[in-house]
């Protein structure tokens, strides 16, 4: 079956705009792949087909997390779904992030155009949308992803990786948006010269919600931000000497802050 559009609407409904004729009693079959292969059964999925558009309610099927091959089943015959849809929609990502945590369904297009469905278990996190580096501070802004019910007050906690340093800074929360400015002088004062790099991992804490949120950026199509996004570094004076400080993405796409002594030293990209 060839489809022009394959997207998620209303959160959990797969919408397919069909390019080929079909019988109205066609349905989908989801075949497990990857870690689910041989472990989980195939899942039949009823379709509501009208005027060349098919809808499948993915939430009702309670599909386990993982990636699923999608087959079009008609008159007892199974065939792949070839989609012209790039399967990436920035507006849909924004809608998904504003929903409560739970299962998120994403259409995927393979290199040969076949449709797959990925199911992810989501949990709230502080999603970075903007990083601004100034002479003595770093300002972060973003949204409380998958956390529409979360409310302030909030504070950002920076923890010195592998060491005991900790900095707490008040953050603002306005609806689903948050913002925080991290002063760099306290990080510099806590710098331990014996370690070539001092990394500071960030967490947004909302005491009223009893929630600690990791700070990072996920859920768009860029996996592996380290080396792709780069931020300027600033020189900060400290009792330990002059330090070079900059925010960076870790290999897990969490945002962290790196401080190194201002001398040639190997540092994360």
């Amino acid at each position: 079956m060839r489809v022009d559009v394959s997207r998620i609407v209303d959160g959990d409904v797969l919408e397919l705009e069909l390019l080929d004729r079909t019988a109205e009693d066609a349905h989908l079959l989801l075949l497990p792949t990857g870690k689910n292969k041989g472990v989980v059964e195939a899942i039949p999925l009823p379709l509501d087909i009208k005027d060349g558009t098919a809808h499948a309610d993915l939430a009702r099927a309670e599909i386990p997390p993982g990636t699923w091959v999608v087959r079009w089943v008609e008159a007892g015959k199974k065939r792949p779904i070839i989609t012209s849809d790039p399967c990436y929609d920035v507006a849909e990502v924004a809608r998904a992030l504003s929903r409560p945590a739970g299962r998120r369904h994403l259409p995927l297009r393979t290199s040969d155009g076949r449709l797959r469905i990925q199911v992810r278990q989501t949990r709230p996190y502080a999603r970075i949308e903007r990083v601004d580096v100034a002479e003595s501070e770093i300002t972060l802004a973003g949204i409380l992803a998958y956390g529409p019910a979360l409310r302030g007050p909030a504070e950002l906690v920076a923890r010195q990786r592998g060491l005991s340093g900790e900095l707490r800074v008040p953050a603002t929360v306005d609806g689903s948006r948050f913002g925080v400015t991290v002063p760099l002088a306290p990080l510099a004062d806590a710098h331990v010269l014996e370690r070539p790099h001092n990394e500071w991992d960030l967490t947004l804490v909302l005491p009223d919600s009893g929630t600690d949120l990791h700070v990072g950026t996920h859920d768009d199509d860029i996996v592996g931000r380290k080396g792709r996004f780069s931020y300027p570094e600033v020189l900060v004076e400290s009792a330990s000497g002059r330090l070079r400080v900059r925010p960076y993405y870790t290999v897990k796409d969490h945002l962290a802050i790196l401080a190194v002594a201002n001398s040639p030293a190997e540092a994360p990209a």
Partner: protein, 400 residues
């Protein structure tokens, strides 16, 4: 027909490599195809090559980390310069040395190919010097004449003319090369042979994502710092838009520095290499080309294939031959950063225009579909094969 392509390093990433693999993957359906790589630069090719296409490596590149330990003679020869390649060409690509030159001479003396196609000037020189009359010898130029250094120009004038034919990417190139060689424009020895787009299926951009994309190696000729400067005007008015640059290369640090200089760290992403550029472009709404010079740009064609309009400098020569101004994209004044910014802004602010241009762009891309280009090659080669058969006294049966 057995057709062999001579290429510097088919394991790398670049326009010529992509064009050659696309064509080989198309030709293999009806012909025997071999890609002869002067050096092997990696364990696996970056671009997909049909398993039926034979890959032959003449040497193991010195930059290949996993290469087998070379013997003393190999080590000696690979540090000696190639004798018959223009020095500028040898300096541009490290695959040219005494070892690879000797290996290629052996190959050219013994191959049973019916057609041998060289894909860059240094290889054209070696094919002209050491190829035999048993097969059709074709040189390919992927660069504009204006991009060639003096010593390469001398080789084109004195050596490449011995080949059975020379293909260039655009009609503008053909006119320039004909003028340079003192040949009439109608001389069939010079032939316009566009690059081929691989067979789909292609995705089709929805043209709604606030993403502008560019792709190509991060090298000076692509002028990505200029693109970043132009994009600054877009980001200022439309901070939700993102510029994604696909590719890797020596200019990364310079581009990053321009990104920081303009405060665009949240807006410009150096995405790294993409094996499937078209699939990435399908997520974008505009593709942009900021090059100083371009051949028949695969990047523009890939944007078109997924229905994305292209904004480009009107640089020599490829963009003008591909982009129908205001119909499939926008050609803006060459090297004018403000004009490039204005072109991007115009399409950012007019989704309807993007849709109109995107639909027309898809039609343009179809003209470069691999099947069309394979037929063009077959038509081009038929009389040359017949002539070679006569020359070598072999009986051949055409068509294949």
């Amino acid at each position: 027909m057995k057709i062999a392509f001579l290429i510097a390093n088919v394991y790398g990433m670049g326009g010529t490599i992509r064009a050659t693999t696309n064509l080989a993957n198309g030709l293999i359906r009806r012909h025997e195809v071999e890609i002869v790589s002067m050096a092997r630069g990696a364990s696996e090719p970056f671009f997909r090559i049909d398993p039926q296409v034979r890959l032959r490596d003449l040497t193991h590149g010195r930059g290949w980390k996993e290469r087998p330990e070379p013997d003393a003679e190999t080590q000696r020869l690979e540090t000696l310069p190639a004798e018959h390649v223009p020095p500028d060409e040898a300096a541009r690509d490290t695959v040219f040395n005494a070892l690879s030159e000797r290996a290629l001479r052996d190959y050219l003396a013994n191959t049973d190919a019916d057609v041998v196609v060289a894909t860059r000037p240094g290889l054209n020189s070696l094919l002209a010097l050491f190829g035999t009359g048993k097969y059709v010898r074709i040189g390919q130029e992927h660069l504009n004449l204006g991009q060639q250094p003096k010593d390469v120009l001398a080789h084109i004038r004195d050596l490449h003319v011995r080949l059975d034919g020379l293909t260039v990417l655009t009609d503008s190139d053909r006119r320039d090369y004909a003028r340079f060689l003192g040949r009439p424009e109608s001389d069939p020895w010079l032939f316009t042979m566009p690059n081929a787009m691989p067979e789909g299926p292609y995705a089709r951009s929805r043209l709604t994502n606030p993403i502008i994309a560019a792709a190509g190696r991060l090298i000076p000729v692509k002028q990505y710092p200029k693109l970043v400067r132009a994009f600054a005007a877009v980001a200022e008015k439309h901070p939700d838009w993102q510029l994604r640059i696909y590719g890797s290369g020596q200019d990364a640090a310079r581009i990053r520095s321009t990104i920081t200089e303009h405060g665009l760290n949240n807006h410009v992403v150096l995405m790294g290499r993409a094996a499937q550029t078209a699939a990435e472009f399908a997520k974008a709404s505009i593709v942009v080309c900021s090059s100083k010079q371009e051949g028949l740009s695969m990047v523009i064609l890939e944007g078109f294939a997924v229905g994305v309009p292209v904004v480009s400098f009107d640089c020599p020569h490829g963009p003008r031959e591909l982009i129908d101004h205001e119909r499939t994209g926008l050609l803006v004044a060459d090297q004018d950063v403000d004009a490039l910014a204005a072109g991007m802004l115009r399409l950012v602010e007019d989704e309807e225009e993007r849709r109109r241009m995107g639909a027309a762009a898809v039609e343009t891309a179809r003209r470069y579909h691999v099947e069309t280009i394979v037929e063009r090659w077959e038509t081009y080669l038929a009389p040359l094969l017949a002539r070679t058969a006569k020359r070598s006294g072999l009986r051949r049966f055409l068509p294949w």
